[in-house]
Amino acid sequence: MDRFTIFSLLLHLLLFGTIAVSSRNTFKSIPKMEVYKVSLAPLPQPKVAGIPEPPAEPPPVTKEPEKKVEEKKPPEEKKVSVKKETKESKETKESKQTKETKKKGLPDGLPDIRPQIYTGSGRGFTYSYYLNILLNKIAQNWNNPYRNEDVILKSVVYFEVDKNGVISNIRIEEDSGDEIYNESTIRAVALTKKLPPLPEEFSDDYLKVHLEFLTAK
């Protein structure tokens, strides 16, 4: 390699570096854009014992013991055999363990799904009508690419709903391992964009939702 090749190489590295730095900002801003990634996370089973841990991120409000809210499963989910569930806490070993135990306990294709939602503060979100709307809206926007296929995929999408019902901070929290599936779940949340305003009685600034999308035959 003569000096000109090295010079050319350095020039390219500089160019790529500049592009990388400049596009990092635009990339970060993508989740704030309307439709890019949205996470719908249907969980297969009703939770029994799983108590989500408080989120690692500093929650906007002080943490309190969470309460679970059970909801009826949106009708679409049954057709697709997808269960949705929202959880507030980040997944830790404990919560994973509880999930596993739940899965074991449940027969495949369990029809009855009871999603649970916890607020960002750890307080229970007790407005089941709101959760029904949320799940229904997102389920309507979800176009599961593996609807009729014999695959088992699970992804968890995290997003936040502010007081006005605007969805933001959408991201994949748990990768299903399938890019198309991930995109479809994110898209489902992103397309929903806006939900009804949060219940006035709900004191937190926003609702953190961990929605699990599950496809199982």
């Binding site: 000109f4 090749t5 190489l9 390219h12 790529f16 990388a20 596009s23 690419p145 995109e183 898209r187």
Partner: protein, 225 residues
Amino acid sequence: MNIFRVFLESSLAAQIIMVVLVIFSVWSWAIFFKKLYELGLTNRRGRSFLMSYQFHKNIKEMENLGHLLLDNPYGRILKDGIDEFKSLKSAGNPVNLQLAENIHLAMERARAKEIETLESGLPILGTIVAASPFLGLLGTVWGIMESFLQIRARGSAHITVVAPGISDALITTVYGLLVAIPALIFNNLLRSRIIKLDSQLDNFISEVFAKMRRELVESSSNPPL
């Protein structure tokens, strides 16, 4: 658009094509800088040679130009001409004027050699110019083909099925053009400068040859005692 993210999410075929194109790009820029440097050096030395050359009226004086006869194309051509001129003169008297053409031929040979040296690397540049868009196009066709295969495999033409292949398809074309366009500019720039230098060398040769032939004629009509 994050080009790295697109790269990482592309298929293997598209990634290979992009890596090849980046190598082409580095190569073409390296050739450009090298040739630019060589041509600049040649022109600078050529100018300083021509400055000295114009003060030397006859061939004998020209032999004393020293290093100027070796470090630039004009000097090397002149040196070959002088060598031929001397061998002609030393061949005996009277000088056969018909052989004077040999001086011209010797200088032409030297010029051809110089141009050949200067043009080295340009064929590679030309190849990169021609091949890069085609490589990009190959990636495009490949990506679109994959998209259709995905549609068939999934039984759905949903955007999430088609989009990855299409993005592969388009990004390789972008890479191909980003490589080909600068390379094309470099190629044309370098070629035009070499052509210009070639014609200057041509003029120089005819000028020197005229001088030498005149000296040959003079020396044959006035043989030294």
